[in-house]
């Protein structure tokens, strides 16, 4: 079975600390495109992580 409880807990955690993360992302001294760069990096990490996992579940 999915270990969905852990994932949900993680989601809530990220949700709660997201303002702190955003403060860092949106540092005025940084380049204007920094948030987009970090976002792209997260997507790349997600793709890499996903490609490592074998997904046999058929809908």
């Amino acid at each position: 079975m999915y270990d969905y409880r852990l994932s949900l807990l993680m989601l809530v955690g990220i949700y709660l600390i997201s303002p702190v993360m955003m403060d860092w992302w949106l540092d005025d001294r940084a380049a204007w495109y920094r948030p987009f760069g970090i976002w792209a990096l997260l997507i790349a990490l997600y793709i890499w992580f996903n490609s490592k996992q074998k997904d046999n579940d058929d809908v």
Partner: protein
């Protein structure tokens, strides 16, 4: 720079028409299927989320909150990243149960008509602001480009055109089961358009508006203080609220639900969407800050929300302006088409059909189609009405907030559906209703008061653009709280429990095995006819059977149960889960007063589907289950497991081989309804007290077969339902061998008796013959001489019989060494011998055997065999008849057939033909030992003899002798 109304109309209608052409090309199969079903098309179709608010409103949001506008993109991205545990289970449920909208899903889960009604009504509060937002955006942009016509008229014209195109896109056909692949492709196409438009504008801004490379950075550095003054740093509260709202939008917004689940024709594409859609949103949002800053830099004279269009106008670039207009039009049109289609279907299923359903005599499908078209028109006109009353005074972000906060009211119900099986309809409905009332009181009315100057005659919270999140979070919080408290303090119905198990993410529901009152598919059609009409009932039943890959006629209880569930799912796609559930419950009821047992077979199939998801102990247990299953399947005995009521739950491979009936044909049938002779045989054994039965004779496929049967009764214990296991063992071979052995024994005992008799009779007969001879010498009396001759003749006859008996008795004891023998030579020898007889003169013998038909044996005795066989054939033939001898051989055997065209042998005679002393010839003409002797000699040669009579022509006999083939082609001495 302005555009005439004709130019704008040409542009708008031209774009929409090209969009329709793209959809039409897909429906006509002008484009390869692989393109249409490509995951990229699915990902781009989800781009419907990026509506006019993303295209125009995001710039306004960025102007207000700076980078806080990213919440619009990141909230929903979070939902897609969590798709394995959030979107994928919902996709599974919607596909399995044919649920086409959020109201369908929630009404199905909470098993309540009121859940569907309340979701549909509250969805109106989501849809109307969202549609109004699009109408406002397009009306405003049209006005910015035209500046002649009143904006309200432009908006009305746009609404009317959109009603037409929404019908063209999604309400031309009737069955909601058909996916609108054309629509999906068209929405993907419009996503590409808006993406290209906003990227091109971003590029123009970065490299064309600001003076040199790095000019933007320099300008930002110079104007940092001014920008900071104009923008409100988004605080934690609004940020979290926005994230939550946009997270909920992934499943609660009707257009997102429609594209992500209802129109999904490639479930695997969701995996690609989990990263592809956030990437799409990233690219969409990339140009937003530069557009905002370019708007400041160029001093664009418009609301910041329309800076994108204003930049094109300020730069006096027709191309850029037209491109941005088309991009915005694409963004607004996509969401309008999808939202109206999905909402119309939702209203039809939950607000119209529960109240009114046409009489069966009407064309139900056509009625549904026209209702849907009418609802599309009504929804868009309602949105236009809202736009006229309040919409034009509320800005895009206020309209967006109203819609998104209303849609997040569905979040508790959705999360409960997936993760909390204990939640119930009372909790859901009360939370939803109170949450929505709070939304109206805390957000809608204050916004209206603020923007429109309405005077509300009671106290309202001081909600404004700075603290709206408090009202939003309060509404959602109250909703959650009531949902939890009432769900915990009230009970679920059994029906609701079953639906909760079906929806729960770790679904371990155990399907029950209740028989239907209808006993076959024809009765199912008859039962549905009063409600749906004959045509619709037949079409739906055959469609469901086709979906399940079942034959058009079924009477198996298991198949009928599956048919019922499938019918409910299909009808749910047509008329919503509530109406479908009520209809199926009413017209296809289960039998009453039947003990409820679990459907082990279906449970096993479900476990099989879950196999790849199991881990840890569950996986180990599943492996054990599969091992035991495989053991039973491969057992070299027929195994059949029966439920307490006689329904077949298991039918292993050997059982299929023995009965010639496949498992899929009988599993789920009642044992008594199995085809004869198996049904009666198993039913008799099941109802008898005997636990074992040996050599039970069954005539199958025109031949007798014998089976041993054993049964074990499984006592119900705990969750085990009990039942009976029957083992079936094929004993036909054993039985035939035993019969053959008995036959041989009988022949042998007769042979021994004959030998004894022959020995005892021989001596007195010799004495009689001598005395008769003496009498001939002693007298001249002619009468006495004639008498003596007769005595001698009779004694010779007796001697011949005795000699035959002696031969027969010695037949089984010959121990001659076998040597290679040419059977053709033996046959020729036998024919020559027979031709010496007067009786054979008028019979035509034809030996067609190939030369060197070599076998192993005793040539002399084989000649004896053929003399007997050919002699019998001759006796059976009429004068002038023909006897053929044919031969052939394979790697192991030599086969010789003696065929005559005589009168044939009656069936009753065939059974006794090899028995000693059995003859059909007249007394004195045959001893009845010839064929017995042949049988013995053939057995002695390890051969086989078979008689086929009469032949296909109705006459004649064919005796086939099979002998082992000799591999050494040596010739015997007979040739020399």
């Amino acid at each position: 720079m302005t555009f005439s109304l004709g130019q704008l109309a040409l542009l708008g209608v031209g774009y929409l028409f090209s969009l329709f052409l793209a959809a039409y090309a897909v429906e006509r199969n002008w484009l390869p299927r692989s393109w249409v079903r490509h995951p990229l098309v699915y990902v781009l179709s989800l781009g419907v989320y990026a509506s006019a608010w993303a295209f125009y409103g995001s710039v306004g949001l960025a102007n207000q909150y700076g980078y806080g506008f990213l919440a619009y993109y990141m909230g929903i991205s979070g939902a897609f990243v969590m798709s394995p545990i959030l979107l994928k289970p919902i996709l599974q449920i919607t596909r399995t149960y044919q649920l086409s909208s959020l109201a369908d899903l929630l009404a199905f889960r909470y098993r309540s008509r009121w859940a569907g009604i309340s979701v549909s009504l509250i969805m109106l509060a989501v849809v109307i602001p969202m549609l109004t937002l699009q109408i406002t955006a397009i009306g405003d942009t049209l006005y910015l480009l035209n500046r002649e016509w009143p904006v309200e008229n432009l908006a009305l014209a746009y609404c009317l055109i959109m009603i037409l195109f929404a019908i063209l896109f999604g309400a031309r056909h009737v069955s909601p089961r058909e996916k609108h692949e054309g629509l999906v492709f068209a929405i993907a196409f419009e996503s590409v358009l808006k993406l290209v438009a906003i990227l091109v504008l971003g590029g123009v801004v970065l490299f064309g508006v600001f003076p040199e490379v790095g000019g933007l950075e320099q300008w930002l550095s110079d104007n940092q203080a001014q920008l900071a003054r104009e923008q409100v740093r988004l605080q934690d509260g609004p940020w979290r609220t926005l994230l939550l709202m946009f997270f909920a939008a992934a499943v609660a917004m009707p257009h997102m639900f429609h594209m992500a689940f209802t129109e999904n024709n490639n479930p695997g594409a969701l995996k690609h969407a989990s990263w592809g859609f956030p990437l799409f949103l990233l690219i969409m949002s990339l140009s937003v800050p530069p557009i905002l800053w370019a708007g400041y830099y160029l001093n664009v004279d418009s609301d910041p929300s329309y800076f994108a269009l204003g930049i094109g106008l300020a730069l006096e670039s027709e191309f850029l302006t037209v491109m941005i207009f088309v991009g915005g039009l694409a963004a607004a049109s996509g969401i309008i088409i999808v939202t109206t289609l999905s909402t119309a279907a939702m209203f039809l299923n939950h607000l119209v059909l529960p109240i009114y359903k046409p009489a069966p005599r009407y064309d139900f499908y056509r009625w549904l189609l026209w209702m849907r078209r009418s609802l599309i028109g009504v929804i868009l006109l309602l949105a236009y009405g809202f736009y006229r009353i309040v919409g034009s005074d509320l800005d895009l972000s206020q309209l967006g907030i109203l819609g998104f906060v209303a849609c997040s009211q569905f979040l508790p119900g959705i999360l409960g559906l997936l993760y909390w099986p204990q939640s119930n309809r009372k909790g859901f409905i009360s939370g939803l209703v109170v949450g929505t009332i709070t939304w109206i009181y805390g957000l809608l009315l204050p916004f209206c008061e603020l923007a429109l100057g309405w005077e509300i005659p009671f106290f309202l919270p001081p909600t404004d653009e700075g603290n709206w999140h408090l009202s939003a979070i309060t509404a959602i919080g109250i909703n959650f709280l009531l949902f939890v408290i009432i769900s915990l303090s009230t009970k679920r119905s059994a029906e609701e429990q079953s639906a909760a198990d079906a929806c729960s993410i770790d679904n371990v529901s155990r399907p029950s095995r209740l028989p239907l009152q209808a006993v076959n598919t024809n009765e199912v059609i008859n039962a549905l006819t009063p409600s749906l009409g004959r045509y619709v009932a037949e079409r739906e039943v055959y469609q469901a059977l086709d979906d399940l890959e079942l034959p058009s006629y079924e009477d198996r209880p298991y198949a009928l149960r599956r048919l019922r569930a499938r019918l409910e799912a299909n009808l749910s796609g047509l008329m919503g889960p509530t109406v479908a559930h009520d209809l199926v419950n009413r017209y296809l009821p289960f039998q009453k007063d039947v003990e409820l047992t679990e459907d082990i077979f279906q449970l096993e199939q479900r476990l099989e589907g879950f196999h790849s998801r199991l881990g840890g102990l569950a996986s180990e247990l599943d492996n054990l289950r599969r091992y035991h299953r495989e053991t039973l399947e491969r057992l070299p005995m027929g195994v059949c497991s029966l439920a307490p009521d006689g329904e077949v739950l298991m039918w292993n491979q050997v059982m299929s081989q023995l009965t010639g009936t496949e498992s899929r044909e009988v599993t789920g049938s009642h044992v008594s309804r199995l085809p004869a002779p198996w049904g009666p045989m198993l039913t008799d054994f099941l109802t008898s007290h005997a636990m074992h039965k040996h050599k039970h004779r069954v005539d199958s496929a025109g031949r007798p077969r014998w089976f041993g049967m054993h049964k074990a009764v499984l006592q119900p214990s705990g969750s085990q339902p009990g039942g009976t296991v029957i083992l079936l063992e094929d004993q036909t071979e054993t039985q035939l061998l035993e019969e053959e052995l008995m036959h041989s024994e009988r022949l042998a005992s007769i042979g021994r008796l004959a030998a004894g008799v022959a020995h005892e009779i021989g001596n007195p007969i010799t004495g009689i013959d001598c005395l008769a001879q003496s009498m001939r010498y002693e007298t001249d009396n002619p009468e006495l001489l004639e008498m003596a001759d007769q005595i001698q003749e009779q004694t010779k006859r007796v001697t011949r019989i005795v000699q035959s008996l002696m031969n027969f008795s010695h037949a089984g004891h010959h121990s001659t060494e076998h040597e290679p023998v040419d059977a053709t030579y033996c046959i020729n020898e036998a024919i020559q011998l027979l031709k010496l007889s007067k009786r054979s003169q008028d019979i035509n013998f034809i030996n067609d055997c190939p030369p060197e038909l070599m076998t192993m044996g005793d040539a002399q005795r084989l000649v004896q065999v053929f003399v007997n066989l050919l002699g019998n054939a001759r006796d059976a033939s009429e004068a002038g008849g023909t006897i053929w001898v044919q031969g052939d051989m394979d790697e192991q055997q030599v086969r010789i057939r003696v065929i005559d065209d005589g009168h044939g042998i009656p069936a009753e005679t065939l059974d006794h033909i090899f028995e000693p002393f059995f003859t059909t010839k007249d007394v004195g003409k045959g001893t009845g030992l010839g064929l017995s002797l042949v049988y013995s000699i053939i057995e002695e040669h390890y051969g086989h003899i078979a008689i086929d009579s009469p032949l296909a022509s109705g006459r004649g006999t064919c005796v086939t002798v099979s002998l082992p083939r000799c591999e050494q082609p040596e010739l015997t001495d007979h040739h020399s």
